[in-house]
Subunit: 375 residues, 2 copies
């Protein structure tokens, strides 16, 4: 194994654009963040990406989008190379999740588990001339896992401390937690929805992409009756490992909520924000505290910028569990997921298993990803 | 580079099942066929596969089918291992073509070329425990090629002889030729239709899948006027590299032919059979003989079993060009394509470029495929 400069690419569930980072990775897997950029999709491209999530799709459109998103990923890497003057040795790309469904269904005794990330790796490799590892989720799913979450592997490397039990909370579209404690094996799961519902409602009510700093939520008041109903969501009771996404907490879920209440827009946003916090708290009570004390809760993802939501977390957890940020550990919150895919690529390249079984539920340690050779 | 035992997997355009072979490959790329099996899809699975080719598809169904076809591919390899007692070191899998469109269209200045083969490689690797290379077409397309044909790379290794200029003619739905001669670079193209029209007419006239041994054609007589008209088809004049398929020589083309004549069924089948032979001959005159003499014409694909068509080829080409079969070279006609994907996997694994630029039109030599590491 050799030290490498690795580019990591992530396009989150918000689907606004691509985060690209350069990370120096040592054979002991310690990582040094070199630089990062965010590359936004054009408005027309954003519209096209939204079209991917319709109930029916034409093969032509899907396949074109797979290649086209690959072009954008490659462009992000090439811009990063131009900015830094450093050409990475390897690229790790998550892709855009087109579909993800860990299911118990079977056909002909075969599992119907499936997942598809698009953003053609062969295009990334060709346009950059750099060996590319992509499509990390299917291997875990093939091994009986949910194919998610994958970032806990990086969380463990970034944040594990045997003396301080920590939970890493990522507030993306979904709220994921990773539990790092010597009292138990590292495990992780999706606690429930985070920005997916809030952003969806902001779009509908105000045609805004998100609730900046949580100002709208702060101007409203939690609708206790609605919150109580939301807390009955069956998903919250499922034992981890578990993962969820747009299939459960997408458009339909939001529409059902909106149909069920005539409260003000502000109050609904406030309630959805509190729902995120309460459902995470609920997950601590049910699934985390029974296994370990938690001294620090490290909040990341887009939700870390929602000041109102952070206050709610403080009210809910402190002083037993102290709220911290990624930056407190020298890790860029904005770029952590992209960094994680650089680390996943590096380990895959050297055939180091890089799923966390207790996070995904896989029956064995697996080397994730597919390698496209260049150079 | 080390000698390896490699499994090759192919599921052809007829979509009835999977061909799986074991091939011993030496570092000089010489190949020895060890064994092969054909593994048919269940009737229900065949129906499901047909559903893949509707104009609109649900993401759930597509993604499930990607994983499910992977399960069938893995099962084919595991059956082959059971039969032979030999566990391969590597697997190469073509997959099932879900969509393939080499186009000139652009979006945002990016090409909208795209192709997708399904049959999840991560499932094949996991169920067999064997490193798997799959998804060979996108890399060539990313490099400006048509992503097809890929078999000429294997044809060159199987059949090239610097003293004997040869053409490999594959009579599948379409007639593809690969030209192997020291007088020119290896090139390949689709000459025109082969079984696609004949099989289509057999289905309509007799509800039979194909003209066994060419008996129906033999019982008829070529309609010279119709043949002359068919020979005017514009595609035959296009300069290679070129590829075609169902888009041009499918249902519509056949219906136009049938509308234009009131000749007997047998005479029409005879004429379509002769059209295949004459259009190949025409391609020799226009595109092959100007570049090289051809001493041997090696016929393969389903059409190699059409005795009448083979006789017509003999009449047209011999004695200048001698007609041979794959078996004359110790290559199984039935399993050649599966063998080709074993060879493509082996070369990809060792980073040997394995597209034929003059066949696909790519601007450079590329290592095709994506590697999923096991063991």
């Amino acid at each position: 194994m050799e030290k490498m400069c690795v580019a990591g690419l992530m396009s989150g569930t918000s689907l606004d654009g691509i985060d690209a980072v350069l990370v120096e990775i040592e054979p002991d897997l310690s990582c040094r963040f070199l630089d990062g950029i965010s590359f936004d999709y054009s408005d027309e491209m954003k519209k096209r990406i939204e079209e991917l999530f319709k109930p029916m799709i034409s093969p032509k459109f899907l396949c074109e989008m797979n290649f086209l998103i690959g072009e954008y990923f490659a462009k992000a890497v090439n811009l990063l190379i131009k900015k830094t003057g450093v050409k990475p040795d390897l690229i790790g790309s998550h892709g855009v999740t087109f579909y993800h469904n860990p299911t118990e269904e079977k056909f002909d005794n075969f599992p119907l588990n499936s997942t598809m990330q698009i953003g053609e790796g062969a295009v990334i490799a060709e346009r950059t001339g750099i060996t590319t590892v992509h499509d990390f989720r299917p291997a875990d799913m093939a091994a009986g896992g949910q194919g998610a979450p994958l970032v806990p592997f990086a969380d463990k490397i970034f944040f594990y401390d045997e003396n301080i039990p920590r939970v890493i909370l990522n507030l993306g579209g979904i709220a994921n937690v990773t539990i790092l404690s010597k009292a138990c094996e590292t495990f992780a799961f999706d606690a429930g929805p985070a920005n997916m519902l809030i952003d969806g409602a902001m779009k509908k009510f105000f045609n805004l992409p998100f609730d900046k700093d949580g100002k709208i939520a702060r101007s409203g008041k939690t609708n206790q009756e609605l919150l109580n109903r939301l807390m009955q969501t069956q998903y919250l009771n499922i034992m981890p490992p578990k993962s969820t996404g747009r299939e459960l907490f997408g458009e339909n879920f939001l529409n059902e909520i909106l149909k069920s209440t005539d409260d003000t827009k502000e109050n609904i946003i406030a309630t959805l924000t509190e729902f995120t916090v309460k459902s995470v708290r609920d997950a601590f009570n049910k699934f985390i505290y029974p296994k370990t004390k938690v001294k620090e809760l490290i909040i990341g993802g887009g939700g870390a910028y929602n000041i109102y939501m952070k206050e709610l977390f403080g009210r809910e957890f402190e002083p037993t569990t102290i709220i911290k940020t990624h930056e407190d550990f020298g890790i860029s919150n904005k770029y952590k997921e992209a960094m994680a895919f650089a680390l996943l690529a590096y380990t895959s390249y050297y055939k180091i298993p890089n799923n966390i079984k207790t996070a995904t539920g896989a029956v064995k340690d697996i080397v994730l990803g597919k390698i496209i050779m260049k150079g």
